[in-house]
Structures are given as structure tokens and as C-alpha cells.
Symmetry: C2
Subunit: 174 residues, 2 copies
């Protein structure tokens, strides 16, 4: 699982989702902002980890309808021709891919004519198409919206749902 | 104009588009990768420049259906609450916004069932919605596709069209 949060100390749920995932036996969380404070993503180490994974999860908070910058840097550095696509680029083929994202704004705001303009799914296409281009099979994204107004119980329930989802995927995959 | 190319030496047209823009009187090009090799975007300097601009152009090559990482970093750093949105965040309201993007693959490949999955416009929504959220008025994007198979004449014609487009926008704006 690739986790990227540029401001983890301000995180209400995303950081806890990463911790919850990390506590599961079959999940390995790679914290990109922690690993690469200088922004120099280690392509070889990331590719080695990807090869060993059966499921690849991108987990991040949505900022400006998109992923944090280090996710983009990771894609450009790690998903190289000959590894992820092009001649001989078959390392990711057949693996499963899931997005796990959070938004501060609630779902009603993500609609035409509303402040966020369109359903969140519309803004996730760049990442889904990247996975597809690399031959991965898409899983339904895990989407949490309205984080800004969540109660402590909402957070707990969501963390439980996330753990259940990750465990289910692990069972289906093994 | 904010220009971002992570590999300018491999650029067939995007870098020349930035040079062509820079040669125009009314255009100021800010080369983000050149200005911020350490990735620490100077929010104050960028905000000052934005305030002076009437038109904001993001120019970049599309990688993985998205913008280069420094464009994302720029958005998160520069478009702060109280500047670009939220209470008092009116600095960009009424300015005009244009995307100028290039893709290696041709337009026919950007369709459902084809390798790039959907029209390029679908992948630009995150940037358009960002501009809209900040109160900017969207201009038609300048899109160049099929750069991989362009002849020298194609490149020249496209550069001319780009200069014409930028000059027209300047005339309309002044």
C-alpha cells in the first residue's frame, strides 16, 4: 500500500487508515512522504516492492481534485517503460489495484453546479487509467467523503470498514 | 504562464512552446522545474506573480494522464486558503485560465477501448475544476496530441498556432 499525506499532523482519518492497514498481517504500508523527504523516489526499491505485491493500493487525501505531488513523482519514476509498460514491461500485469481516498468536502458538494463540480469518481480516472495501462485489474475504490464533519464514531466506523475491506481483498487474492 | 517539464531535453515541442510564448511581449513564462530544483515552491513569489497576471496558463506535457508533480506541488503551496479560496481568498477571481498540454500518443488512442481509455479532456478536469473553484474563467484548452509522430513542419505549424492563440487571448484581455 502506497500512502501519501503531505500534512499527516492535520489528518483526521487518512493517517489512521494507514495505521489500521499497517496493523494487518498481509498489508505493507509504504509512507512516501516519510520515505522520501527530499522527493527522490528510489525506483529500484519501489519496483522490488511492487513485484512482491499482489494488490497495489494508492491511499491519499484528495487535494485539488487530485493526488499529492509525491504520488505523481512516484508514478513517473517507478512506472518506467520496460517495467510497467512497453516491450518487456509486464511487472504489474494481472495485479489488482485499488484507490483509497478521502475528501474533506461531503458527497453532495461533488456534483455538477456544486462547489466541487463533479462526482469524485470523475477525478480519479487518471489513476485508474494508469493502472489499466499497466495491465492491472481495478478494484472498486474505497472513498471516504465529508471528513471535515465526521464525528469520532464516524471515524471509528470508517476505519473498521476499511480494515474489513482490506482483509476481504487479501482473502480473495491469496 | 507556468511551464513544467520534468525532462526538457527530451521535449520535442513543449519546450519550444514555452520559448515561443516567452518571446511574446505580454507573456511571462515561469519555468517551475528550473526555478525549484529542490521542489520548494516559493509561495510568496508565485502569489505576487499571479496577482499581476490577467491570464494564467498551465503548460505541461501529460504524463500518466496528469500533470508533472511540480504542478501539483505548486497548486498545494500557492493556492492557499485566504489567497485563492475561502474567506478573503479572492486573488484569482475573474482572471482567465488556460491549459496548454501535449501528449505523445495521438487523439485516436484517447478513446474508450483504446490504450489511453478516454478523451484527453476527461483527464484535464481536475485542473479546470481547480481554476473554477478559485473563481477563474476557463478558456478553451490548447491541446497538442500525437507529438511522437510529428514532422518538423507539424511542430512549426503548431508553434505558430500557439503564438497566434496566446496573442489573441492577450488582445481580448487587454
Amino acid at each position: 500500500m502506497l500512502y501519501a499525506h503531505p500534512n499527516p499532523n492535520q489528518s483526521k482519518i487518512n493517517r489512521h487508515m494507514a495505521l489500521a492497514g499497517n496493523a494487518l498481517d498481509h498489508v505493507q504500508v509504504r509512507d512516501l512522504y516519510e520515505s522520501y523527504p527530499d522527493f527522490h523516489v528510489d525506483a529500484a526499491a519501489e519496483q522490488k516492492s511492487l513485484k512482491e505485491a499482489q494488490v497495489v493500493v494508492f491511499q491519499f487525501p484528495i487535494y485539488w481534485f487530485n493526488a499529492p505531488s509525491i504520488i505523481r513523482e512516484w508514478q513517473d519514476t517507478v512506472l518506467s517503460r520496460g517495467f510497467a509498460f512497453g516491450p518487456g514491461g509486464t511487472a504489474l500485469q494481472g495485479k489488482r489495484f485499488m484507490l483509497a481516498v478521502t475528501t474533506g468536502g461531503g458527497k453532495p458538494s461533488y456534483a455538477e453546479g456544486q462547489p466541487h463540480g463533479a462526482p469524485i469518481e470523475d477525478y480519479l480516472r487518471t489513476f485508474e487509467q494508469t493502472a489499466r495501462f499497466c495491465g492491472m485489474n481495478l478494484l472498486e475504490p474505497f472513498i471516504v467523503q465529508g471528513v471535515g464533519s465526521m464525528t469520532a464514531k464516524d471515524v471509528d466506523d470508517t476505519l473498521e470498514a476499511y480494515k474489513t475491506r482490506l482483509s476481504m481483498i487479501a482473502r480473495e487474492t491469496s
